[in-house]
């Protein structure tokens, strides 16, 4: 591993990464923007010091496991029309590289990308969306929670209990409708399957985050965001997930889309199927 000026590259490797500014940091790691030799923007997740190498390495391990499981599913449906409905790989980052920089305090660095994303500015943490004065409209919140339930159910099917479902750890790519759980370093493998209580907690947490996304930085209560029957049904379902949860994420995901499909099919409802552009409430 060698750092040359502003460029950092692996000796003998093709990849070269131009290191840029810090975009975020916490007690365990720093995130820096970098650019690879195709011009694609990536993130360097750099351990704060060597004692946090294990956390970053765990993240790398889980990302490797997730893509392995996702690839198996994609391969099994590749020749069918079902492949567009799976693509679980869009729900977690791509691990491009992982290594220890011995001349930088022996700290571990993960090089992380987002599939089909060329510019990092198109990736927005959920916490940033909460800062908007009015929050997002209901159809926008619907694709967020739908994608969240999808990645949660996939993780649970892999016997992975997600350690961090929070506004800081969920990223949105509005133009592509991607919802990504970023850091998996706090996850746990549950070989006998995820306990029902933990499944329910993950669903409750996700639903609460989405309700917050609807309100944003306003003082509104959630039932003040709509006076429409269809919208009330939708809100009621999300609130139920937030308060009661469900013991099976796949079932929650399925029931959610059954509801959305019924709302779209209802001629009296304003809900429409098809791509809904990311929209803040007015």
């Amino acid at each position: 591993m060698k750092i040359v000026g502003n460029k950092w590259h692996k000796t003998g490797e093709q990849n070269e990464y131009q290191v840029k500014e810090i975009v975020a940091e916490n007690s365990q790691y720093t995130l820096r923007r970098c650019i690879d030799n195709t011009g694609r923007e990536l993130l360097l997740q750099i351990a704060a010091d060597a004692s946090y190498n294990d956390q970053l390495s765990k993240n790398a391990w889980f990302l490797t496991k997730l893509i392995s499981q996702s690839d198996k599913i994609q391969d099994s449906v590749e020749a069918t029309d079902l492949r567009q409905y799976y693509n679980y790989y869009l729900g977690f980052p791509e691990l491009c590289d992982s290594t220890i920089l011995h001349d930088q305090g022996a700290r571990l660095v993960n090089v992380i990308g987002f599939r089909n994303v060329h510019k990092l500015s198109s990736v927005i943490p959920l916490v940033k969306i909460w800062k908007h004065s009015k929050g997002v409209d209901l159809p926008t919140s619907a694709w967020i929670i739908g994608k969240l339930l999808k990645i949660i159910s996939f993780a649970h099917d892999c016997n992975i209990k997600i350690g961090d479902i929070s506004g800081n750890n969920i990223l949105i790519v509005p133009e592509n409708h991607y919802v990504i759980i970023f850091n998996w370093g706090n996850s746990v493998i549950e070989n006998g399957g995820i306990p029902a209580a933990d499944v329910s907690n993950d669903i409750k947490t996700a639903a609460k985050l989405v309700l917050k996304t609807i309100i944003g930085n306003s003082d509104l209560r959630i039932n003040e965001t709509t006076n429409d029957e269809s919208n009330s049904k939708y809100i009621g379902f999300v609130e139920s997930l937030a308060e009661v949860g469900m013991s099976d994420a796949r079932r929650a995901h399925q029931q959610f889309y059954e509801l959305i499909n019924s709302l779209c099919a209802d001629s009296t409802s304003a809900w429409q199927s098809g791509f809904h552009k990311f929209t803040y409430r007015t």
Binding site: S51, D54, W61, T64, G105, I189, N191
Partner: protein
């Protein structure tokens, strides 16, 4: 105190010297124990002062006024293996895999003086529910102690009694590594649940009538009249060791998770790969093995396992407290081979625990690398 370290050739010589075959390595000790009614003092939990010691090996220098560390900081690895029922051959297996064990451990514990105490446990109804050896470093002594074990191989009831050995690990061990703020390693290998509670009469029977005096002598406050809960003992064990239960049969996982915590239970496919899995656990805990390197490490040290079997082990290992040793404040400050102490390190009154002078080898290395990382060098 010596500077010999374990090697395969010394192991083979020791086996020849003690006339140890591939099977029934404990046959002589078994018949002797039954005819005398006593274990050899080396493996009798009540023998040799009850409290097991893990001490730095030093040699006197400078006309006896100073002491030099001959190998490295002692790192105790205590393992207690179930030998009841289907686990009855575990001493033979432990003997056979001993060189693999040392080689795997050395790979992840560079610079340490590895000190091993591999004992066995059975059922409280056994004549000898526990055999607990001394911490040893030399092949001959480790081989000898294994031959002195007395596995009774009885089934009795389903719960077995590792709890008694866990008590010993928690309260009857005095280790230099703890005195300098780090921890050793403790492994319980079983296919059965424990009892969850420890009978004080059993403790006196196994460790001697003055066991609680010994516990107090070792610095632990203990109320003899209370029932002893395994959960409490485990908490105290974690104060001095990175402790794990390696479960060969996963049917009893719930018992162990309830008593020791989910992050302390690792499912083992069989005891043949015990040393390699222990090495992986130790490496992950020390930070010398990263999770992303687990799979390749295990594939290297376990030659006849499929990728799927290796992945299954990795999935069990990923949940342990990774990097726990590396996060302790004094990690990285361990005395190294050749360091000089002005007096003999004493683990009882905590004197002379740290060297006054570094070894010549370390001084030369320091001189060659006089440039501290500058802000520019460490800019990431």
């Amino acid at each position: 105190m010596g500077r010999e370290i374990f090697t395969r050739s010394l192991y083979r010589m020791a086996k020849t010297s003690f006339d140890v075959g591939e099977k029934d390595v404990t046959a002589k000790s078994y018949s002797q124990a039954y005819s005398t009614g006593k274990l050899d003092p080396l493996v009798d939990p009540a023998g040799f002062g009850v409290i097991r010691l893990s001490l730095p090996r030093v040699e006197q220098i400078s006309n006896g006024s100073k002491y030099r560390l001959t190998v490295g900081t002692p790192l105790p690895i205590e393992t207690r293996v179930d030998t009841t029922g289907s686990m009855g051959d575990n001493v033979d297996i432990a003997m056979r895999v001993l060189p693999d064990a040392f080689e795997s451990w050395t790979e992840v514990l560079e610079g340490y003086d590895i000190q091993v105490a591999t004992g066995i446990f059975g059922d409280h109804k056994d004549r000898f529910p526990l055999c607990r050896p001394q911490f040893e470093m030399e092949a001959a002594k480790i081989v000898k102690q294994l031959t002195l074990m007395v596995p009774e191989r009885q089934g009795h009831d389903t719960p077995e009694d590792p709890d008694i050995g866990i008590f010993g690990g928690a309260y009857l061990t005095r280790a230099y590594i703890n005195r300098i703020g780090l921890k050793g390693y403790d492994f319980t290998v079983t296919d059965a649940p424990g009892r969850g509670m420890i009978d004080q009469k059993q403790l006196k029977r196994v460790f001697g009538q003055d066991v609680f005096e010994k516990v107090k002598q070792n610095g632990h406050k203990f109320n003899e009249n209370n029932t002893i809960d395994l959960k409490d003992v485990w908490v105290d064990l974690l104060d001095r060791a990175h402790a794990f239960v390696l479960l060969v049969e996963s049917s009893y996982k719930r018992f162990w998770i309830e008593h020791v915590g989910k992050d302390r239970v690792v499912v083992l496919p069989n005891t043949e790969v015990l040393p390699q899995v222990q090495a992986a656990i130790i490496g992950l805990t020390e930070g010398s093995l990263l999770p992303t390197d687990m799979s390749s490490f295990l594939k290297k040290v376990i030659s006849n396992y499929s990728s799927r079997e290796i992945d299954s082990i990795c999935e069990s290992l990923i949940n342990i407290p990774i990097g726990a040793q590396a996060k302790l404040p004094n990690f990285g400050k361990c005395p190294k081979k050749g360091d000089i102490f002005v007096g003999k390190p004493d683990v009882w009154d905590d004197t002379n625990l740290w060297p006054e002078e570094q070894s010549e080898e370390q001084l030369v290395h320091s001189e060659e690398n006089t440039d501290e990382p500058t802000e520019k060098d460490d800019w990431l």
